[in-house]
Amino acid sequence: MTEPTTPSTTPSTTPEPTKRSSGGAIPGILKGLATTARTLAKPSHTAEYPDVSPHLPPRSRGVIALLEENCTSCMLCARECPDWCIYIDSHKETIPATTPGGRDRQRNVLDRFAIDFSLCMYCGICIEVCPFDALHWSPEFEYSELDIRDLLHEKDRLGQWMPTVPPPPALDEHSAEPAEIAATNKPARPVRTPAARPTRVTPQPEAEA
């Protein structure tokens, strides 16, 4: 009852029990019939998925690919992962000195890198934090399994996704240059003479007291 209706203004000749001020019941139900009939006449927009592959938007988050050569086993991704679904094992190897009298070097060697996609929530934080671009989003999404344990992808499986990683999208028009290009294009710093350096004023410890 949205507004009070008086018999003099509203013709109560509609045979339907519901009397509304918005056109009455009969036009309403006819409108419903017309709407469904119009939809029937139009072709449907359904794309039948297994037969027709979906059109994925750019930057789709399908699966995380690992570029093993870039990984330094720094564990940043595993630490930042909100649900701890990244498993990393590594060990240190000693590289003997290349020059006589030189120092032996140590480097990390990745033994295991696994992402449990049954836990992953596709937040992409691991990819964001990786300082060496070892992790990438791939749009591939068809890796469902019958057994949930098979969703634990080891590093060889994660490496297989690498060819499916799309190239980074082009920058927008008039956007700032990428950091690497900006750095190389920057004019060299002017050499400062020690005389031009302002004398540093050290605060007096007594002033605070």
Binding site: E16, T36, T39, S44
Partner: protein, 321 residues
């Protein structure tokens, strides 16, 4: 009875049974596809290959495989018997509906009365199911079904009475033979009443309160599984077939049309199919009525309208006699 006559009876029965098993599936598949496209979907596309034509066959296979559960608290005999009571009346009704003067399984003298009588029995199956299930939702659904059927049986009978009066015959064949295009206008109010009451009788949306899934789970059929549940579904679609063919015979002249001598039964089927599509269309387009709205519609609109139609028909028949 000679052997030949016996064979004829058997053949006619088998033909009716075949129609009873095939036509509801046809209507069901049409509902799948028409409803889907009215909602901007595709509907079944895989079963059977071509546009999912075998979807209902697959459904039937699935229903057969399912466990047939009888609740522990249920009145077991009644519970198990109810689907048959719901289903058989439509089989009987289908036997007496003429597709053409020749194509009719059993040409009963008062077939209009017989059809109305047996379709009214069908509701007993729902009542038995609801009462025997020992489930409050089933019971509520059965009560709703009973109230609905009591209300809508009257306008249905009155509108059919009007047609019988106009034709001067209680036989469906006689009614269709007496039909003339002028009836489309003359019997229009009765036709509308019949269609609305038939949809309500079949418990189809917008009159599906007895099975309102958002309110009472699935009404009287809540406790049913497997083949018995499939029988209830089959009886619903068989009901659509019966009511659509009945509408075609009563109000659209049945087999009357071009080449009716050879293609009479095709005309009846075609007209019935159009009505079945309309019944599907109503389901897709309209929301469910409330229980009190349903009763108001029956007693304040349909019954007076049917009585007025009866009076109009009576006056016209007497005046033109």
């Amino acid at each position: 009875m000679t052997a030949l006559e016996a064979l004829e009876v058997v053949l006619r029965s088998v033909a009716v049974l075949a129609a009873f098993l095939v036509l509801p599936l046809l209507v069901g598949q049409t509902e799948h596809k028409v409803m889907a496209h009215m909602q901007g979907r595709l509907g079944p596309m895989y079963a059977g290959g071509f546009h999912g034509w075998a979807q209902l066959v697959a459904d039937g296979v699935k229903f057969v495989q399912k466990e047939d559960i009888t609740p522990a608290a249920a009145d077991k005999g009644v519970f198990r018997f109810a689907p048959a009571v719901a289903l058989i009346p439509y089989l009987v009704a289908m036997a007496v509906i003429p597709l053409s003067p020749d194509v009719v399984a059993a040409d009963a003298p008062a077939s209009a009365v017989l059809v109305l009588a047996v379709t009214a029995v069908g509701i007993l199956g729902t009542l038995m199911a609801g009462w025997a299930s020992a489930n409050k939702y089933s019971l509520l659904g059965a009560m709703r079904a009973a109230a609905q059927l009591l209300s809508y049986e009257l306008p249905l009978v009155l509108s059919v009475a009007s047609v019988c009066l106009a034709a001067g015959s209680l036989s469906l064949s006689g009614i269709a033979a007496a039909w003339s295009p002028w009836w489309l206008l003359w019997q229009l109010p009765g036709a509308v009443v019949f269609l609305v009451a038939a949809v309500a009788e079949l418990q189809r949306p917008p009159f599906d309160m007895p099975v309102a899934d958002s309110e009472i789970v699935f009404g009287a059929y809540t406790e049913y599984t497997g083949l018995r549940f499939a029988f209830f579904l089959l009886s619903e679609y068989a009901g659509i077939v019966v009511m659509s063919l009945l509408f075609a015979v009563l109000y659209l002249g049945g087999w009357q049309g071009p080449f009716s001598d050879q293609l009479g039964w095709v005309w009846t089927m075609l007209k019935g199919f159009v009505i079945a599509v309309v019944v599907i269309w109503l389901r897709v387009s309209w929301p469910r009525l409330r229980e009190d709205q349903l009763q108001r519609l029956a007693w304040l609109v349909l019954v007076p309208l049917a009585l007025a139609q009866l009076a109009l028909t009576g006056v016209w028949v007497v005046a033109s006699a």
